[in-house]
């Protein structure tokens, strides 16, 4: 396969096709509509299922039904649409069946705007839907990584029978850069022993998220948590840059992590011993690695395109061992490397937040009147 100039949304859609997705159900919403548009011609041309649903509520429940057949299925949406999907995601999780969702995050809350944001971190990582469940959440920082993570998402979802979400901010979905597709995988022909496909020559199967006896629900919750603990122990992924001798560690995911890397390189050129940890699985979260780095570094700087949603997870992992500072851009604004470089420089020269909420000093410095 040759490298091509690819738009992120189209690249993620085609990556799903290459990964053998058998059915796509979705609804148009900016900035992810190109996923739906690509699927609308690509899936029928391959004899696979494409359906534009009447709403995200319907789309996710179509995914739920199709996932019950054991087929590789997916949807994609953006923040307000994903909010509508929360009911279905909870049911899919409670039924313990695999499904893949791409969330191309935009500014919010409410209708917000269509610019790149990371404001869905809490919605996707810390639940969203009702009840006790966890999603695997993968955060790409480039078009190539988005392609690779979409393919991985299907494998992880099926391996563990959990929802796997590719959380891409709007800039990953909309930008174009060179990337390479994987080869086309064959569509699967063998289905798992839980799949509902008609009880031909066997006892009937029932797929449901209902456990009316509290004791049975408790057992189910234990089982799902055990599965999650296994995932946490085996599937944490992150990228490290310049961390060997780092005295300061920047932590950022997706586009915020990518921009931070430029700032870290500029700071290194100035002689500052700073590195970057970029979580790829923001769920399960790389808290063990962050705890290790908390022993090594003088301070952390968390950079996000939200008001500090991952920040709380970093602070929990850091366990109060070192100052944790925060820098965020909101409302659909992507930070420039210079802004982050300024913050890295400040880490080395000013008194840092010890205890208390790092958002307060950040707001004091950047938000007039706060």
């Amino acid at each position: 396969m040759a490298r091509e100039l690819l738009e992120g949304n189209l690249a993620m859609a085609e990556a799903a096709v290459r990964a053998g997705v058998q059915a796509y159900f979705g609804y148009p919403i900016t900035p992810q509509t190109e996923v739906l548009e690509h699927m609308s011609h690509r899936m029928p041309e391959l004899g696979r299922v494409f359906l534009q649903a009447e709403s995200e509520v319907a789309a996710v429940n179509m995914v739920y039904g199709a996932a019950c057949t054991g087929a590789r299925v997916m949807s994609s949406s953006s923040s307000p649409g994903v909010s509508l999907m929360m009911e279905g995601l909870s049911y899919i999780a409670g039924t313990e069946i695999p499904a893949v969702l791409i969330d191309v995050v935009r500014g919010g809350p409410g209708l917000g705007n269509i610019a790149p944001s990371q404001g869905d971190y809490n919605q996707i990582v810390h639940g969203g839907g009702h009840g006790d469940y966890h999603n695997i959440v993968l955060a790409p920082a480039s078009v190539q990584e988005a392609i690779d993570l979409v393919v991985l998402a299907f494998d992880l979802a099926e391996k563990y029978r959990v929802i796997t979400v590719v959380l891409a901010d709007g800039s990953i979905g909309q930008m174009m850069e060179p990337a390479e597709f994987p080869p086309m995988r064959p569509v699967k022909t063998v289905y798992p022993d839980w799949a509902v496909r008609g009880a031909q020559g066997r006892n009937r199967r029932v797929l449901s998220s209902i456990y009316l006896q509290p004791e049975e629900e408790e057992i189910t919750n234990y089982r799902m948590l055990s599965n999650w603990n296994y995932i946490k122990a085996n599937e944490v992924r992150y990228r490290e840059y310049y961390l060997e001798d780092a005295e300061y560690v920047v932590i950022g995911f997706g586009t915020a992590g990518r921009v931070s890397l430029s700032a870290v390189r500029a700071a290194r050129a100035e002689g500052i011993k700073v590195g970057l940890l970029r979580p790829i699985t923001i769920s399960p979260f790389p808290d063990a690695r962050i705890a290790e780095l908390a022993q090594q570094a003088h301070a952390f700087l968390v950079v996000e395109m939200n008001t500090g949603q991952m920040l709380d997870d970093v602070r929990l992992a850091a366990g109060g061992k070192l100052p944790v500072e925060f820098y965020g851009r909101l409302g659909g604004i992507v930070p420039f490397p210079d802004e982050i470089l300024g913050e890295i420089t400040r880490l080395t020269s000013e008194p840092l937040t010890v205890g208390g909420d790092p958002r307060l000093s950040w707001m004091k410095r950047f938000v007039p009147g706060s």
């Binding site: 509520v57 789309a59 995914v63 019950c68 057949t69 299925v73 008609g198």
Partner: protein, 258 residues
Amino acid sequence: MVATAPAQVVYKRPEFLTEVATHYCPGCTHGIAHRLIAEVIDEMGVREHTIGVAPVGCSVFAYNYFDCDFVEAAHGRAPAMATGIKRVLPDRIVFTYQGDGDLASIGMAEIVHAAARGENITVIFINNAIYGMTGGQMAPTTLPGQKTTSSPNGRDVETMGFPIRMSEILATMDGAGYVVRRSLHDPKNIRLTKKAIRIAFEVQKRGLGFSMVELLSTCPTNWGVPPREALQWVEEHMVPYYPLNDFKVAPTVAGLKF
């Protein structure tokens, strides 16, 4: 000497019904609806190719009573879930079994769009003019003046709106192949119901579009009347508001032979 014919079984439990007692209240017509579906699936010989979608409501446990693969939908979303299954497995028989709160209130968008798309699924719609499982609240199908636990002085259409006639609505969809209303209040209507259910499944088997049979049903428990009075109430109050009719029989369906 009197000649005796060998004994013949003329009536038995349909094979499509599992050997368990249902949780339905005494006098409720869910049992009749279940049995009619089971007889039809037995007669068509499609049990092993059938996948059911259960709703949220009194029939939430329908999957315990039908001997086929089953899934359990979120409230109102059964037509969307059935769509997902049917699109992936187009040669299977996929049916939903939904009550009036599920189908005509919270699931209005899903049922209308499934019909508009002409999804080849069969919907059995139980209309008993009340929310049963949650204890007798006003449904979108509750009649004007009807008392429920959330319309204690009777449904006042000025503030609570009017009942919804789903069959009439869905019959306007070009994707619908067969949409009829029947009733379960007496033996004659039960026989007519069975015929309609058979046609609905035959429509799906032949890929002729969306099919739905609406069934006027009783809820003696939440209506607060004995079973026999409940049957009379269907005939005297529901049938006039919800006329029994064939609202959509596509030309391709009209000539069906089976």
